[in-house]
Structures are given as structure tokens and as C-alpha cells.
Symmetry: D3
């Protein structure tokens, strides 16, 4: 199985041409014809993630966030991005990023987040999803549920006794999608990063805001893609092993 | 004492002409010649804050964040900002915003935050401050200290056992100032909102990130200005009372 | 009857979505749900016009020219526009502007002007109208006719003995529409303000230009809308009185 | 005497490098080395003005307004400007424009206008001048004085009984300079074209506006330059005759 | 026959509305109604070309490259372009340019060049053409063939022994069209000017580049238009003589 | 000796901060701390040049033209630039580009070209140089001299019998610097690529143009830098060998 085959499988569930203008999803580093025996999924390319890839023998890393999001003009050891790219090339590891195409995909980042929020009757399109809690609960109880399901610290930006039933959400740094929560008459809005002026606007609109961290709202959706990909390759009886990074977020050691 | 007198007192400690290009600090609503007997300080203008101002008889509200940050072309009851501005005018309450000028001022938002982080040997200019903890501590311990001093939820974006001595900071949504923390060889960086790609860059640079919430990192500096202003008016024996809003952040009731 | 009802009536004769890009016609100040018993029409909001509105008990002013044409970032007594807006809000007077939508409307500003120019067989669309004088006359005679019908000073920008039969026009500051007068083989062009280089171009094209003043070419069309609105509310037996401002143009007293 | 010599004489009283960015003052058509025996001054190049130049044998026309103000890409008989330029070249007539440099010059367009307004103690720089009437008079009386001195129709944009003593002015289409009249505490402002929103702003500021026509406010200053140039060439005993166009403004005959 | 008639004939074979945005093809100087007895074709307007036009009594010059490609604001003897335009107007010679419309036309500049390259099975649209050599030859031989057929110096930018069969081309300064040669699997690419980085890209893609000079690749196509026009006017029995400039390229004498 | 040491040596003769805005000279690929035993100089990075570098054991390539001149967002085998960069990184070869800084440097690209043109009394700054031939010669003779000295095909864009004494020049694609040749009263102008409209302008100004090819005008200056660098490292007794590429320009084999 080649890098191109894997690219095509991802494209079939999260088409790369649905990515946002300005995004950099796609095959970023490597060769479409490279043969693949193992793949590592991770939210971002970091030094520990490349260590993991080397350890498991992965010839391909698939991340959510792209490298070279800002176009580059040099590739030296002086910058972090330069070091990461140079190491990938020397280790002969290809890199595919599935970013805003995966955010929007059916069964993608936001759909996975909606399930982890405990919602039913999930609807929505683009980057927004909404649904209903099985039964009404306080903002405090919902914050505790989120902390447990997403394994994260939750910042509750509303009174603790506010009652919650209908919930809107957008993973990562998507707090400007609160406006769709208002249009859908949601009681609450969940996101990874919630900016202060959005929190104020939600307060005015009577919506309780729950900030759950960028990593915690996106990592589960990437793991779901890994599982789907493992099933797909197994189905065609290809002997490709799919791993998910076990490195905690933001855990770089200081460069020795 | 008039609105203009109060404006001049604030200008003497946080000159309005030091504000960022594009900011909207200054006298936003009201009349320079209005006589003032009471003032209310709050991070933002909200309905509960105007309720408070009316309750204490304040003719002037002083906030950190400006209204009309985006220029406006109408003033109707249809928008939140329209309702707030119309109510201020009808209640005859003037509004002064001290935003990026107060962030940078000596004794302003960031200096106050540095003290609450427990730092000594505080240096820095513009929006950045750094200093030293009396003794080295783990990231977990420093996060607990911040949670207690700032009365907030802290999101720790680094391994818990990382050791911390030198700390950099920028209040509010200032996580791009982490680069100054790197230049100052800080072990940690504190801010209100920390964006994911900044957290990754800090991890690569060996800096532990502590996200403490926009409100929690800025409110103390505004209270400090209130206290300084009370002292200034007392000193000239003016009978002006200065209040600080006691409304919790993001606590709007749903509009009935 | 509410502000929204009045807005809808105007919209039915001069749809607000036909306004020019960059214009600011619509409900600018107030509340859609406010109950209305009296309305004052005026070309512009000025202090004497607000005096009139207060005197007749109007809860709504309808003007041709919008306030906040340039977006604003403060509302203080220091600027003329700030004083006007603050007074409207405190007097609880709503403001609707019908500007470029009314210029173009059937029966609107330009159609009314065409009738006052003594034209028949009136045609045209957008901001331009043309028609024929019942009989040919000299430029001098037509200038006198305009001065009488529009109650204004006319600047004749052509030889006095030029003969006129077909006339084109555009109210207000619309002298660049002379080109449509040329395309329609007009002998004359009427507008409120005529710029020098347009007058030269008309001279070269053999078109006599008549500059009649901005106010004089637009006020009659606004009065016509007032009359139409009075008829409309009478027809549905609503007890709303419609007034037209009697304040002369440019008559502000010096602020005491 | 050559075209270049004349250019240099004008440059010495109205330096061409003081012209506004975007203006097109200077030698526009012809040859610096052409020998000159007669010169015709006119506000604009028009067909009747070229007729006059041919009739008096002028090899050079000097105007206030430039040709090719908008850059051109063709020179055909299809456009008015094309016909004028082609005829100048075929008649071997050079063209110099002295526009915004002459507006500002000492003794230039605006200084000449100030004298014709009957002012004393004339001050100002750039495009603005102000001065004092020998004695206070009503707006009506001052309008009559202007109509007589400038041989024009005056549009009075203020109450007729307003009293006038200090007067500001800017020739041509310069009504945005009213703000300098306000800063100089003028009672009145004179210009060629006065835009409606400037007239409203002046009314609010207690300034009476007098619109006197573009041609009438600028032609006297150009005649003054003609006289000065005649004196200069006489002084060096050059036998060059200087004429001023006697064609009325906007008097083009229809092209036969 | 008038200038307009000639314009229409050219338009029928190379429609002016197919010209590139920013081009300046069309009637640039003169009068549509001018009667024409002789026409001179030349790649560019230069002093020797105007000499030729005068010598043969041509009232119309037709060039490939337009004058006033950059819009102009003056017409004096100080600039080369000013001198050329002024002389055309004084000699009463009209000027039509057929530039990017003729490049693309069927039978136009690029089709003519393809024939002179010895190609068969010519296809292509827009500015690109490709075809096949009757038999494979070395790059050296093809360069010699081009030098002879186009009467020019050829810069060969590839190894001399490279074998050539399929050839792509774009006249003048069109070396960025090499990419179409690659898409059409050409072995070689011919143009007037070939930029270094395009030559490098062609080397990487295995395409041999032949730079033949701007004049040499475009002049033949203009001569072809002259011949077609002579046939067209002969066909309608108009007595109009069509000449082609015999002035060598870049042969201006130094202005005396 | 490290890459940084070599960078510093080049900087001392052709300072990198003199490069043009938008250029990409500097250390583009690799590590400042890499130890260097051999260096290869070449005008451009191409596959054959990397082959040469590998063959001679060069850890550093120094080129005139930068890679990543247009910023990039991916590094795959699909593009030529991607393949070149990936191969450099895998071969552990660093890359320094000295482009517009070397063009301008004393003893750099243009100074070297001036000597090869046979000039004396060489002056000039920036990208332009001029000088005098020992004795006057015809354009034909000078073209032959250039063809011999630069080992290139010369396109002579002027009459063959034009006499030449003073010569201006700018290497590569610098034909817009002909204007400095005119200001310096040169009889001739030499460049790598000469655009048609520049050749026309030179013809009008009486300047003979000689187009010598991009590679031929720049390669000698790069070789001169190689020699200077070899001397510099020898002088400090470092055992670093400096090679100059012997690959002909535009000689890529078709990728197998």
C-alpha cells in the first residue's frame, strides 16, 4: 500500500477539496509512491511524535494540524519547523495533514466530539454540531461530565446552576461559531478555546460556555479516523498497522 | 469633579496616546463637563454592570474593554451593543475605556498580574513582564498558586513535574508574547488565553504554559486602578466614591 | 402602529435593499417595537428639526440623509453628530433614513423633481429621469421656472438664449449622471450640485446645465413620501399624524 | 522667449513642485524650446479658447485646470479631450497648466479671491485664506457684494440676517476647508462649490456659507497671473503679448 | 475606404475584444472617418517607420505593439513617446495596434510562426501552438533551421545532440507558456525571449529551449496580416495600397 | 570550518543585508554548525549539480540563484523544487545563496562581467557598471569579443557598423538598467536578457544593445567568488577544497 492509497482512503471520508481557503491539508512531505507498512496518527508533528514514529517503524505520519501553514523560504536547524521537516525527510517519513476537511467530515472531529459530549439527535454541518442531552442538568454537572469524557480541565464561563439541555459545539479554536448555537436555541456551547468577547456575547444571549482545551476537543476525532483507517486496510487485507500517538499534549522535553 | 477631570487623572497614570493602533480607549460616551459623584469600575459594560451603576448612583463607568471596538452605523434595540449604549445614554452615564494604555502602564494590568503571580525582580515593558519566584517549584504547585491568587481555573499546558523559577506573562489574550518569555529565558509563561500553536511552540522551547482565563488575569489590574483613583480624589479632598463591580464574569441573566 | 410598521410601509414603496452599496438607509436609531402616534419628515437631522419633533410629539423622525454615514466609535457631546444622536436617544425618538432607495423609487425624489421641472413623458430608471417641456423655451426662461417651482437660486451654466425642449435630471449631488442626459439627447440637465468639469463636458456636448441646490431638488420628494405615508395610515384608519419640517435649510442657530 | 522661459517665470511665483499629489500641473503639451510671441490665459482648454488662441496668434495657452488629469491611452476624434489635444498639437500650440500650485501661491488664486471679497488683514496658507470685512454686514449684503465683485450668482446657505465680520474662503471645489474657517472663528465661508453636508456642518457651527461658482472664484486669480506675467516680460523688454480669454464660462457652441 | 473600415476588417480576423486585460490594442490615434489610400505595417512605431509612412504616403500605420501601453499625462518633445505621438498627429497619420488579439488569432502571429518552424499538424489555442517536425532532428539542426527561416540569431538552451520531434511555441516574450509545451509532451519550445528560470524548468522537464528574438518571432505574423488585408481590399476593389516596413529592428539613428 | 564560518566569509565581501527586498539570499538549507571539508559553487541547484557535489564530497553548495524564491507549502517528489530540496537534505548538503548581494558587491558579478567585456576605468554602483574600451570598435567587433570572452551566443540589437567606446552593463535579467547607460552617455549596453521594449528605447537613445545570455553574464562572477573563497580559507590554513561546477547550463538529462 502506498502513500497515495492512504491519501485516497482519507479523501474518501474527508475530501481534501472541502478544506478552508488558506488551509494546508494534503500530502505535505514525501512521495506518493512510497510503500507503507505502518502509520502513526498524532494531532501535531513534534519531536516526541517523530520519536514514536521511528520506534514503531511508521513511514507515514497523519496529523490534524499542517506544517508549513505559513509558507516557508528556508529549511535550517535554526527554527523548530525547520528541524521537524528536515528530520522527517531524513527519516524518510511522509506527512499527510487532514485539518479543516476532517473538522467538517461526517464522523470527523466535530461529530466525534458531539458523541463524547453525551449528545443525541446530533445535527449540523460545516464546523458546527448541536444535539440534546438525555436529560437536563446543571452547568456544573455538565462541566464535570466533559472533564471526565474528554480527560481535560474545563473552564466554565457561566453560573454553575444554569440548566442545560440543548448543546452546540465546535472543536479547537472555533468560538465564533457560538452564533450558530444561538440560532439553534442552544443552552450551552462547547469549544476548545473560547475568546473573552465571545463569552460575553454568549452571556448576553443566555448561553453557557464550556472551554475544554484545543487538544482535548480534537484528539478524539483523529483517533476515530485512525480506527476507521485500520478497518479499511484490514477490509482489503492489507498488512498495514495503524498507531495513535500516546504522547501527552505539550510534553516536549527541553532540547538537550 | 467632572468626567474630564477623571479622564485626566487616568491619563496621568496610563496615557491614552500610548494605546495600540486600532484600539478605542478614551471617553466613548457622555460629556466631558458632566459632574461626577460616583464611579463604577468593571472589566466590561454589561446589563448587570449598568444595574450596579444605577444602584450605586454612578454617573461614570470605567471599563477595560471598549464599546464600539468595531465602528457602528446604527443604535437600535436589535443588537446587544445597541441596547447597552442606548441605556447608558438614557441613564446619563458616561463611559471611559482604559484598554491597551492600562495594559502597558506602570502599575497597570500586567504589573498587577506579576505581583499576584508571586514574582519578585519584576521587569519588562509594553505588554510583557517577567520576574522570579522566591524559590523554584513544580509546574503543578505554581498552577495551584495561580488558581488561588487569581481565583480561577488554571489550564496547565506542560508536564506537572517541570521545575519553574523564572516566569514571563501577558494578561488577557496575549499568548503571542511567549516569544519574549523565550528571549528572557523564562521557565514558564502565564496568560489569560493561550492558543494551541503557541502552546506547541512553548513546549518545543521548554517553557511551561499556564492559561488562567481572560477575566482573571485582567480584573485585578482594573481594581488596582480603582484604588489608585480613590486615593487620588481623596487626596484632593473631592467627595467622589469609587466602586468596583462585584458581578461575576459571564453572569448575564437570560433577557426576560 | 409601531416603528416596524412604518418601516414596512416605506419599504413597500422604496425598498431598502435597493440602496447603494455603502449607503446607510434603514432604521438607524430606536426600537422596532416602539408605538408611534406622530412622525416628522425632514431632509436631515439637525437641532432645530429635533426641536420641531419634540414640539409636535413625534416619536419618529424620517430623513433623507442618514446619520452615521461614516461609522462611529464614540458618542459624546464633543461632536455635532454625537450631540444629535444622544439627544434623539434621550428624547426616545427613533430615526429612519430613506436615502438612495428613495432617490430611485417610483414616485420618489427624482420623479417628484421631474414633475416640478414641468416635464411630461417622464422616463428613466435608477437615479436618472428625463422628459419633455410642453413647449420649447430659452435657458433663461427655464431657469426662472425652476427658481419659482423649487423656491431656490438657480445657477445657469450655459448661454441664456440656448433653446430647451428635452430635459434630463438627477437630484442632489448627481452631476455625473449628465452622461445619461447626453445618451438621451437632452438639451438640458438639472441637478442640485453641478461640478465644474461636468459643466465643461456638458458645454462641449451642447447641454445646458442648471444647478438648483441640493436641498431644493430633494426636499419636495421627501414631502411627497410624507403625504403618501399619511394616506397609507389614514387608509388603514390608524391615528398617526405625519408632519413635514418647516425649518429652512442651513438655519441652525449658533449653539448658545 | 521660449516655452521654457515662461514655465520658469510661472515657477518663480507658483512653484510647480508645490502641486498636490495626483495633480497634473506643468508643461503638458508642446516643446520647451518653442519660441513664443503671444500667450493666452484661460481657466480651461475648450474649443472656443483654442479659436481665440489661433485668432490672437498665441503659441502657448496657460490654463488653471490640466488636460490629461486622468491618464489617457488613446488620442482620437471620438472623445472631447482627444479632439482638444489633437487640435493643439496640429496648431502647434503648447499648453502649461498651473493648478494647485497657483491655488496656494502668494498672490495666486486664493489671495486674489480674498481681495475681491473685500477683506483686509488677510492671512492663511495652503488653500485657505481668511480676513476681516471693513465693517460688519448682514449675510444678504455680503452675498450682494460677492455677486457684484465676482460677477456671479451667489447661493446663500444661511439666514439672510446673520451678521458677518470675519470671512474664510477657498476657491473652486474646496468646501472641505470650511473646517479651517471654524478653527479661525470665521462668521462666513466663501467657496466655488459647497457640498450639502459641509453646509450642514457650517450651519451647526454657526458659519454662513456663500457658494459663488467654480469659474467665478478662480478666473480672477488666473487673470492676475496673466497681468503679472505681462509685467515680467515687459520688464525684461521681451516683446511677448499676454491675453486673457474673454470667452464666457460653459459657452461651447454645439459642435456643428 | 476609412480608418473605421480598416479597423473592421482587422476585427473580423483578430477581434479586438479578445485582447488581454491591460493591453491597449485598437484605434489609438486619429479619426475613424479619415479616408485611407495607403497603409504601412510595422512591428513598432519608431522615427524611421514614420519616415517610411510619409515616404509612401500612408495615412494609417498598423503595428503589433501599442503606443501609450502605460497611460500618459503629457505630450511633449522631452520623451520619445511624446515625440512619436506628436509627429503622427501633425503628419495626420492614424494608428491602429493589433497586439494580443493578433497573437491569438487564427492565421495570426503564432500560427505564422508555427509554419515558419516547419511544423505540421499544428494545434493549440490562445497564445500557444504545437506541432510535429516532418522528421526527427537534433537540437543543433533545428536551431539552424530556425536561424534560416526567421533570419535571426538563435540561442540554443539545451544540449546540441538532443533529438526533437514535437515542438511547442509562443512568440515574443512568452516563455511562461513552456508549461503548455510540457503538458503537450513537446521535445522543444520556441519563443522570442526565454527567461533563465523558465529555461531551467524546461531542462528539468527534458524540453530543449530555443530563443529566437522578439522581433524575429513576431514580424512574420504581422506581414501575414498585411498580405491578408491587401487581398481583402483588392477583393472589394478598393484602391488601397498596403506596405510592410523594411526598416531593420532596433535601427534608430541617433537623433541628430 | 563550519557552514557559519563560510557564511561569514561571504558576508564580509557581499553582505547579505544588501540584498534586494523580496530576494532570498542567505543560508537556505542545512545547519550553521555543520563541519565543511569541500564546497561546490554553481549558478543554480539542479540534479546534475547535486550529482557533482556528491561526487566531490561537498557538504555545502553555494549558488547565485536561491531555491524557495517563491515561498513553499509542501516538499514532495511531485515538483522539481521539492525533489531538489529533499535530495539536499538527505545527502546532508547545506545550501547558501548569494544573489542580489553578490550582484552589487565590489568584485562581484557585475564587476567581473565588466572586466570580461574588456573595459577600463570601471565605475558604477548597485547593479550597474560602466567603463571604456581601450579603443573604439564596431558593434560587430564588440559582439565577437563578447562571444569569445563569455563563451556565449550574442544577439546584437543595433546596426553592425555602429561605433562603440563607452559601455554600460548589468548582468542577468537587468535590461531596465539601460536607463543608467543613457545617463552615463554610453554607446552600448550589455546584459544577459534584453527585453524588446528596452531594445527599442535604446535604439531611440542611440545605444547599441548586446544580449549575451543569463548564464554567461553571471557564471564568471560566481567563479570569481569561488576563487576568492579558496584564497581566504587557504590563508587561514583551513583544509577546505572549493570546486566550481563544470556542468553546462540547461543540461539536465530527462529524469529516467
Amino acid at each position: 500500500m502506498t502513500v497515495q492509497n492512504i491519501y485516497d482512503l482519507i479523501h474518501s471520508v474527508a475530501p481534501f477539496d472541502t478544506q478552508w481557503e488558506g488551509d494546508n491539508s494534503g500530502l505535505l512531505i514525501g512521495s506518493p509512491s512510497q510503500e507503507i507498512s505502518s502509520i502513526l496518527f498524532a494531532l501535531d508533528v513534534t519531536e516526541p511524535v517523530i520519536d514514536e514514529a521511528v520506534a514503531v517503524g511508521a513511514e507515514l505520519i497523519i496529523t490534524h494540524h499542517p506544517l508549513m501553514f505559513s509558507p516557508i523560504r528556508s529549511l535550517t536547524d535554526v527554527s523548530c519547523e525547520g528541524r521537524l521537516i528536515r528530520r522527517l525527510i531524513r527519516e524518510n517519513i511522509s506527512l499527510i495533514a487532514a485539518h479543516t476537511n476532517l473538522d467538517q467530515a461526517s464522523g470527523g472531529i466535530n461529530d466525534t466530539l458531539a458523541v463524547l459530549c453525551g449528545l443525541t439527535d446530533i445535527t449540523g454541518e460545516g464546523f458546527f454540531r448541536s444535539g440534546i442531552l438525555p436529560e437536563e442538568m446543571t452547568a456544573r454537572s455538565f462541566a464535570d461530565l466533559l472533564a471526565k469524557n474528554l480527560e481535560t480541565t474545563v473552564r466554565l464561563m457561566a453560573p454553575e446552576d444554569r440548566m442545560i439541555r440543548r448543546v452546540g459545539l465546535c472543536s479547537g479554536g472555533g468560538s465564533d461559531y457560538w452564533i450558530q448555537a444561538a440560532e439553534n436555541k442552544c443552552d450551552a456551547f462547547v469549544s476548545g478555546e473560547i475568546r473573552h468577547h465571545h463569552a460575553l456575547a454568549m452571556a448576553d444571549a443566555g448561553i453557557a460556555a464550556f472551554e475544554c482545551g484545543h487538544f482535548a476537543t480534537e484528539e478524539p476525532g483523529l483517533s476515530a479516523l485512525a480506527e476507521a483507517l485500520q478497518n479499511a486496510v484490514d477490509h482489503v487485507k492489507c498488512n498495514v498497522r495503524v498507531y495513535v500517538s500516546a504522547v501527552p499534549a505539550y510534553s516536549y522535553p527541553r532540547t538537550p
